[in-house]
Symmetry: C2
Subunit: 217 residues, 2 copies
DNA sequence: TGACGACGCTACCGATCGGTATCATGATGC
DNA sequence: GCATCATGATACCGATCGGTAGCGTCGTCA
C-alpha cells in the first residue's frame, strides 16, 4: 500500500531495524545518528522525517522490543497451553535459551533505561510498563498454578528472570534453563502445607510430562 | 602525609567522590568531564593529572564501588557471624534495604558495564570480577549451610540478588527483604530429601532466632 | 503532462565531547 | 630565600554530537 517496490523494506522499518541492532549492541548513548544513517543507508533527513528526535527513535526501539518479546512469550505459552506449570517451565526454558544466545547483551529495557536519569524519559516509562506487564503475566500464572501466596512467587520468579537477563553469560555456562526451572520448582513447591504429599499436584492431567527442550532435571 | 590542610578531602578523592555520584545517578556516558569539574570545584587539568583518561575515572569509580560493597558485606556478616543461614538472611536483609533506598538506581557494575560494548573496557572486566566474587561468596555460604547442590543454590540466589538490583523500586514496594528471604528459604530448604522433617536443620544451634531488621515471615 | 510525495545529497548549525598546552599561584621543605 | 610540587585559570584543540535548510531526483497517480 505504500509505493514503488513493496518487496523491499520500508524506509522507516529499515531505519528502525538498524537502530535497534546498534542500540542493543552498543547502548543508546554510544550510537550516534550518523552511525545509524551510515549503517542503514538511509539519509539523515529521512531519519528525522520519520522520527522527530533521537529519543523518539529510542522509544520506537523499546516499543518494538516489547512487542516482539510478548509475541514470542505468547507463542511459547501457546505451544504447551493448558497446564500452567508446564507453561511456566516452557517460558523459563525459552528465557534460558534466550540469555544463552551469541551476542546476548541483557534486557534492552533494563540496559537502555539505565542510561537515562530523567524519570520522564520514554525509555524509563516503557521499561516500567514492560516490567509491570511481566509481573502481571507471572502473577496470573502462579495463581493458575495455585501456589500459596502467588503474588510473592510471581515477584520471586520475576527476580530470577531479571537476574538471568543481567547474568552476562555466567548463567548460560552452567545451564540457564536448568537453574531457572529448578529454582521455580523450589519457589512454587516449597511453600506447600506441611504434611501434604510433596510431589503430585491434585489436578494432574498430563503431569510430569517433559516440556520440549527441557532438561530432565 | 600529603600537604597543606590534611583535614580537607584530598583532590583526587574529591574528584572521585563527585564523579562517582554523577556516574551513578546519570550514567557514565551521560556525564561529561566538564560536569565533574564544575561540580567538584577541581580544575580539569588536575583531573587529568590524577586520572589519565575518562575511562580511568570510570574504572576507579567501579573499583571504589566494589571495595565499598564488600566492606559492607563483610560488616553485615560479621554482625551475625557463626550460623551461615543467619549470615545469608542478614545479607538479604541488607540488600533489601539497599535497593529500597531513595535514589537507588541499580547495581553500578551492571549499569555502567552495559554502556560499553567493548569486552576489554575496564567497566566490563571489573563487573565480571565483581560478579564472580559474588558467586564465590554465595557458594561458600551455601556449602557451609549444607544445601544439596550448593552451587546451583548459589547461582539461584545470585539471580535473585541481581534481579533485586535491577528491580527499579518495584521490589521495595512489596517488601524487598521479605521477598528475598522467603525465596532463599525456599531455594535452600526446598530440595531436602523426601520424608525428611521439613523444618529443623540438624545442626540447630540458635535456630529460628530472628535476624536484626528481619520481618518475622 | 504536471502536481505531489518520498527520498537522497550536501552543507551547515551551535554545542559539547574528551583531552592538552601554557602560565600563574601558593604552600612546603630545606 | 629558594627550589619543588600540587593546583587553578584560561584558552584552545579536532572530533563528534543532535538536528536543520535547501535543492535535486525519481516514481506514482490523475
Amino acid at each position: 500500500m505504500k509505493s514503488a517496490h513493496a518487496d523491499e523494506l520500508d524506509t522507516a522499518e529499515r531505519l528502525l531495524a538498524t537502530a535497534s541492532r546498534l542500540f542493543y549492541a552498543h547502548g543508546a548513548r554510544a550510537v550516534g545518528v550518523e552511525w545509524i544513517v551510515a549503517e542503514s543507508g538511509v539519509a539523515k533527513t529521512s531519519l528525522y522525517r520519520h522520527f522527530h528526535t533521537k529519543d523518539d527513535l529510542i522509544a520506537a526501539f523499546l516499543e518494538r522490543e516489547d512487542r516482539e518479546f510478548w509475541t514470542q512469550w505468547d507463542k511459547v505459552v501457546k505451544a504447551v497451553a493448558g497446564d500452567p506449570r508446564r507453561e511456566l517451565m516452557a517460558l523459563l526454558d525459552w528465557i534460558g535459551q534466550r540469555v544463552s544466545r551469541d551476542g546476548y547483551r541483557g534486557c534492552p529495557q533494563i540496559n537502555v533505561a539505565a542510561e537515562f536519569s530523567d524519570r520522564d524519559h520514554p525509555a524509563r516509562t516503557i521499561r516500567a510498563r514492560h516490567k509491570a506487564a511481566m509481573f502481571e503475566r507471572l502473577k496470573a500464572l502462579t495463581r493458575r498454578i495455585g501456589t500459596r501466596q502467588p503474588d510473592d512467587a510471581a515477584y520471586q520468579i520475576a527476580l530470577l528472570v531479571d537476574g538471568a537477563f543481567t547474568s552476562d553469560g555466567r548463567l548460560s555456562r552452567v545451564g540457564a534453563t536448568r537453574i531457572l526451572q529448578s529454582a521455580a520448582r523450589a519457589l512454587l513447591g516449597g511453600e506447600r502445607v506441611r504434611g501434604e504429599p510433596s510431589r503430585a499436584r491434585t489436578k494432574s492431567r498430563g503431569r510430569r510430562r517433559r516440556v520440549a527442550g527441557t532438561a530432565p532435571q
